[in-house]
Symmetry: C2
Amino acid sequence: MNVIDAFVKKNVEWLRATGPDSDVVVSSRLRLARNLKDFPFLQKLVPSQQEQIVELMRGVLEKSTVLKKSHYLRYNDLTELDRQFLLERHLISREHASEKGHKAVAVTPDEQVSVMVLEEDHLRLQVFQSGLNLTESWRVVNQLDTEIEKNAEFSFSPTLGYLTACPTNVGTGLRASCMLHLPSLVLTKQVHKVLQALAKLNLAARGLYGEGTQATGNFFQFSNQMTLGQQEEEIIDNLASVIRQVVDQEREARGFLGEKRKAKFEDQIWRSLGTLKSARVISSSEATQLLSLLQLGILMGLVKSNLTHQDLNALFLLIQPAHLQKISAKTLNSTERDVRRADLIREKLTQVNL
Amino acid sequence: MNVIDAFVKKNVEWLRATGPDSDVVVSSRLRLARNLKDFPFLQKLVPSQQEQIVELMRGVLEKSTVLKKSHYLRYNDLTELDRQFLLERHLISREHASEKGHKAVAVTPDEQVSVMVLEEDHLRLQVFQSGLNLTESWRVVNQLDTEIEKNAEFSFSPTLGYLTACPTNVGTGLRASCMLHLPSLVLTKQVHKVLQALAKLNLAARGLYGEGTQATGNFFQFSNQMTLGQQEEEIIDNLASVIRQVVDQEREARGFLGEKRKAKFEDQIWRSLGTLKSARVISSSEATQLLSLLQLGILMGLVKSNLTHQDLNALFLLIQPAHLQKISAKTLNSTERDVRRADLIREKLTQVNL
């Protein structure tokens, strides 16, 4: 599949670490859930209607300037590995990746914007930005929403707002989320306190790959739970203001580790690099954990290297199972992937000296 | 203390890894327990008698050709750190190092021969050789014994043999022991079977520093338990023949790991090196364990390096607490030692590439 293969070699725009506060906030993401007025919700769609929507949306999405030059990928043309690959790049959801049938996803060349067709809702519009940049994400996703609405009528209730397959999305249909890298809050054992505080504010905490996944390698995804009764801007501002506090706490914890626990902390960072540069077999979760500490060491100026923040962000992605297989251009079982992953990491870290 | 400081910079002759089977057998050691006929055993000696023996033995030992150019170190002239240092080099025993009073040790410049004065017995003659070389050790210690006996009369019973402070040493007064490096038998979990078999043969297994110490870093010291009712040559031949079998088993286990468990095994070796080359804080026991695996990797040709077997043998010694302090020329507490140890290891392993 040529489009997918082209993706393998590209850097993900929103992993460039160029956005605000990107020392802590990896990325911001907004998604809007939308459904077409003229069709029943997904669960009641018969296959012919599904096929009809996939075709219909190809035409509609083509007209959007936000989606200019985007690829429209039909699931029936993709292998399971391709879909797993798109999932690892956060372009489609876990549920979307595992199900069969008529589905599609439109992806812009820079991968900042995608529209999933026939996920839980008829349409899921999503925009990614580097760092804490929900305002820009909102501008883009709002424009995309407006452009699509010119050529498609959405299910909308004047009292409730946008109608969605799951009641938790009714209203704005908006989910705003930020991916945070909080190694120091984890090392200083403060992260649970933070998670508890966020739960009280009705913010959900999840792992790297959304709902139902565990936080790995000190990465946490925070998002709003409420979509009803609040303006979009209010939801976004609320989340951003909480995230800013978490960012401050993580930075404070980094300072604490670097000053008060210097010896032990530096030892942990260097040992992580030592293991990454020497292992011949490594699991995805161990690698993610160690790369997280290396990232911290580089950010704090402890480990000097030509390796940029962006290179490391990319590496977190490249060591995922589907990416490893795409790079290797062959199917690899779990044991083979652990070996290939270790090889790849050693290769990428050649320029980082112990 | 000039003599001790000179030792710090020297390589220990019996750690040169030049002896037979030194891929598995680090060293062979023989010791003879002897007591002077004209004095009561140690526990009944009054301080003035102790002083008398220490002075007397200086003169007697000086006449031995085996002890030519040896240093006669009186404990009263040594600091506690000096004694700890001599203990780490196996020149004096643990009991000897911690006790105060009139005691001394004669050490040859190559450190292959030493005589402890007023340890558990009046005299403990010991000879070290690299590898499995009990025959040569016996030749040397036997000559030393004969030379000393020319100028001192030993407690001897025609029926029992040499009399000693502890009945377990009566008869020959001989303890023969070999220090074995058995990383592969440990990794393949076969070592307990070996230890059980040796116990049935009345051989004792101990750690690096003799009685009451645990095996660390896959090093085991095996020795005869019986000193009575057997000729010296018989004791030595018995031990050597058992050791040869253990050597074969360790070599077989190395082959098994290198062939049947290649990936996992190589990963362990390289990770050990990675940690050694990166740690900023490391305990003695962790370092010994990791160096043991690195040693194995070098012996098996997995890790290519200019670092010789002897260099590594020396490193096991240099990372011990007293050695670290002697090298640094200052007192270091436990935390400071863990940092200094990590520094030293990184420095020594600069030439070993990941």
